[in-house]
């Protein structure tokens, strides 16, 4: 029994994804919500690589590569947007960045 059943990896990916969703829904600070998005992306990366192992093809790794590149680009632009929002509203609470009337 020195082999790990492949379903365990997928279950771990599901747990991490659900934790990311929980963080995204329940936290109010913009930066923590952003970090929950990164957590979700990492969980999806894990499932891609698990399926790549199962099908014995390298294409899953390529998808993870592109997900990482896009996540890095998104992090850069998203953090720049957060900086601009902070400069204008002086708050990082997403409930207060709301100028619509009720």
């Amino acid at each position: 029994m020195s082999q790990v059943p492949i379903s365990w990896f997928l279950t771990l990916s599901a747990i991490l994804f659900v934790l990311g969703v929980a963080g995204f829904i329940f936290r109010r600070s913009i930066i923590t919500m952003f970090m929950s998005i990164e957590l979700m992306l990492n969980a999806v990366n894990l499932s891609f690589i698990t399926f790549s192992y199962q099908l014995k093809q390298v294409d899953g790794h390529l998808f993870v590569f592109f997900v990482m590149v896009v996540a890095a680009a998104e992090a850069a632009v998203g953090l720049a947007i957060i900086l601009t929002v902070f400069k204008n509203r002086q708050t990082l609470n997403i409930d207060e960045v709301n100028s619509m009337k009720n």
């Binding site: 020195s2 082999q3 990366n45 698990t50 390529l62 590149v69």
Partner: protein, 166 residues
């Protein structure tokens, strides 16, 4: 041996992920997220994805999270204040999430009841050569497009974050 390795790093990943969501101060969340990414890198090594494991540490844990930590330090984001939470959320929150998780886990176990096992060395196609070969032959177009995407992101970030010239 592989099972012990998987269990240790999976438990570290889950605990660190719970810590990301639970901690109030953003720096503590960021450091826990680095822990998640590190343990996921070890799990990628177990799955034979050596290049992706190294790329995970270099790009995600070593660059993207440094960017997060810089922004948190620059904004001096303090601990998040616990404002009033809606009654529905605190009642239904955890149970609904656990239900979602149980549904996902049940589906996974149904599809892979006796699935193949993962052992270190089971998949040797994750070397930099095979990734490079696939990247520059089959996936050439996405590669070029993502490079332009990164260029756009760089220009966008510089424009957004610079000082306004009054």
């Amino acid at each position: 041996m592989d099972v012990i390795l998987f269990l240790v790093f999976a438990i570290i990943a889950v605990l660190a992920a719970i810590n990301v969501v639970v901690q109030t101060h953003p720096i503590a969340s960021a450091v826990s997220l680095i822990g998640v990414m590190g343990s996921l890198a070890v799990l990628y090594l177990l799955l034979g994805a050596e290049f992706i494991a190294a790329a995970q540490v270099i790009v995600y844990a070593g660059a993207v999270m440094v960017l997060f930590i810089f922004v948190i330090m620059l904004l001096n984001a303090g601990a998040e204040a616990r404002k009033g939470r809606s009654f529905m959320a605190s009642l239904l929150g955890a149970p609904v999430l656990i239900a979602l998780l149980a549904l996902l886990a049940w589906f996974v176990e149904r599809i892979y009841p006796e699935g193949m096992g993962v052992h270190f060395g089971g998949f040797t196609g994750g070397s930099p050569e095979s990734i490079g070969h696939a990247l520059f032959t089959t996936y050439m177009l996405p590669f070029e497009i993502t490079s332009i995407l990164v260029l756009i992101a760089i220009v966008g970030a510089v424009v957004l974050a610079r000082k306004e010239l009054d």
